[in-house]
Symmetry: C2
Subunit: 135 residues, 2 copies
DNA sequence: CAATATTATCATGCGATTATAGTGAATTCT
DNA sequence: AGAATTCACTATAATCGCATGATAATATTG
């Protein structure tokens, strides 16, 4: 449902959003806290920086921090860097019928569309702020 | 959203369900019809046989056929052989909190559950018979 | 029984994802 | 200035899913 890499990214982002005053956090600490191999997490964090989701700073008091307010960062923006969520524009019918679309849907087309859109909507509409809301 | 293998299996099963009188179909014919590499499909079909979804017979008039009535075969039973759909019993929280369950859900737990259950429900409640219903 | 057709199974290659190692560059502190 | 710390980047290895090909086992037919 979600690749390991995407899930790591999500946890890292949420963990950073919990930092008081947006204080930066070192990659090693982050890796230990969320249980992800240190070097691998480094690569993921770097991807997040290049996407503008995180800011990084080097040196003694450096680390990673969120570049946006949590409530402005959707889960989709994080996850879509690593996975393709939901049914893309070129996604064909579940049953492999190329002609299955608006005009000539297969019997299960609508039910499948509803279900898969529920997933897309979740990632589109949920923000990191929502995840934090009760802590 | 669904692995290639699972999708192949789904198409093969649907194709077999369309056979008149449950006549067996050879792996090669099936492979050609649904556009899947012959040898690879053989492996998938074998998996379906071991799961009790298909019957196979060797020799001159052999082939594969459904072992159940289409309306008694859910898509979940086919797909779950190859993919894990939705949130299984041991599936941890989306955010990686081991304690996230019924009693102490994280803020997005319910929304995530609703969305992912829409997918599970689709596969659980849709049968091969449903897919065939308009032909 | 022999010939043939078909599934069953194993061994292997390929590519994407996942993970590791190591070097270089920037920042901070003394 | 110099040392320590930390991210940036590249190269490489390990793992897994996907796909192919060849061979063995089994059933049907005559």
């Amino acid at each position: 449902m979600l690749s390991g890499t995407a899930e790591y990214a999500l946890r890292a982002v949420v963990c950073l959003a919990r930092q008081p005053d947006g204080q930066p956090m070192r990659a090693s600490d982050l890796a230990e806290q969320i249980g992800v191999p240190r070097n691998y997490l480094g690569k993921i964090l770097h991807d997040l920086v290049r996407a503008g989701i995180l800011d990084s700073s080097r040196g003694k008091k450096g680390g990673f921090k969120l570049a946006l307010r949590p409530q402005d960062l959707t889960l989709l923006r994080v996850v879509s860097l690593f996975d393709t969520i939901g049914v893309g524009p070129d996604r064909r019918c579940l049953m492999g019928r190329p002609e299955c679309g608006g005009a000539d849907p297969c019997p299960v087309h609508h039910r499948w569309k509803d279900a898969s859109e529920a997933i897309s909507m979740f990632f589109e509409e949920t923000t990191v702020g929502d995840v934090l809301s009760d802590e």
